[in-house]
Amino acid sequence: MKRVVFEYTIVIISFLAILGITLFFSLNLVNAESSSNMTMKVKVDLTGFNSSSTGEISIWVPDSIDLGEVDKTDLVSDEVGIYINNTGGIDIRVTPELKDSEEEIFKYLYFRKQKSTSTNNTDLVSFKKIGDYYLDIDKPMTGKKYRAEHAYMQLNLSDFEGDIKEDVNDYNADIIFIATAR
């Protein structure tokens, strides 16, 4: 009985061995066939076929933005207009971000596309906090070097729960306007 089991084991393993050898030779045959035909590999990079273009991305932003003054009795700054130029060849999305994510005061920066309330599009006139806001800029029109878009920003410390102990002139923080392909 033991011997029968033993022989069956040998038969199964032999079958697996034959299968393995077959795979081994078939792989070698495929390789040999491709080399015997003396084929030459032709390579080409096909780009720009994705839904989004992979062209040059380029932006121009102002060097600095001054929000004026925030007073203890008036915790909202001036609403300042900023212009950002799309100087590349593709549609972009510009996302403002604080360089220092731990920054306490400037995380209360708010943005919106339009000041006017004459439009029915509430999305354009409602403020969005930094981190949730982005500005879409289409690529420049044919023959133009850039396309400009504007947004408005404001510092609103109404919800600020920290403690500002003394007056600070020219308090500043770095904002980065990051452009990505749309």
Binding site: R3, F6, E7, T9, I10, I13, S14, L16, A17, G20, I21, L23, F24, L27, T47, N50, S52, S53, T54, G55, E56, I57, S58, I59, W60, V61, P62, D63, S64, I65, N85, T87, G88, I90, R93, T95, E97, K99, G131, D132, Y134, D174, I175, I176, F177, I178, A179, T180, A181, R182
Partner: protein, 167 residues
């Protein structure tokens, strides 16, 4: 005098226009490669001012187009990144840099590589589509090894069988 004044204004305006312009080409990187090997692509970066550009990459489990979704560090995913983290630009300079990634596990990875100006307000994010596959050599090695291993086992079994018969 008026002409000189006009020229001066034009020059000043041009200087302002190019004050903080950052450009990168291409805007997305599609990198297909194998694990345990450096897989690279080139980026061309232009900066119209002088100063450093700082690079940092973040990853996401979803293929999103929103920067806030990219929060994962490359180490967490077992990815090794090799690209210049700080590049110095002289006035109106263009540089070509190699962006390389290596990983431990095969799969598709979604990332963003952001280059920010150190002193200015401009930054550009490059979407990264990294696809890593197993090494083909490993597969071939297994195929080569399997029949040899089976034959070795058969020989041992036959030897045992023969010994037991003799006993």
């Amino acid at each position: 005098m008026n002409l000189i004044y006009c020229i001066l204004i034009i020059i000043l305006n041009l200087a302002l226009i190019n004050a903080n312009q950052l450009s990168i080409n291409p805007s997305e990187l599609f990198i297909n490669g194998t694990i345990e090997k450096e897989n690279c692509n080139e980026l061309k970066i232009s900066y119209e001012s002088s100063g450093n550009i700082i690079g940092e990459s973040k990853w996401s489990f979803t293929n999103s187009r929103e920067i806030k979704d990219y929060t994962i560090d490359s180490q967490y995913l077992g990815l090794i990144e090799k690209y210049p983290k700080k590049i110095y630009f002289k006035d109106r300079d263009t540089k070509t840099v190699d962006i390389c990634f290596d990983g431990e596990k095969p799969g598709s990875y979604n990332g963003i590589l952001v280059y920010k100006t150190e002193s200015g307000l401009a930054g550009i994010g490059i979407w990264i589509h990294l696809k890593l596959e197993n090494k083909i050599k490993n597969k071939i090695f297994i195929l080569y090894l399997t029949p040899t291993l089976y034959l070795f086992i058969i020989l041992i079994l036959l030897r045992i069988n023969k010994t037991s018969k003799n006993l």
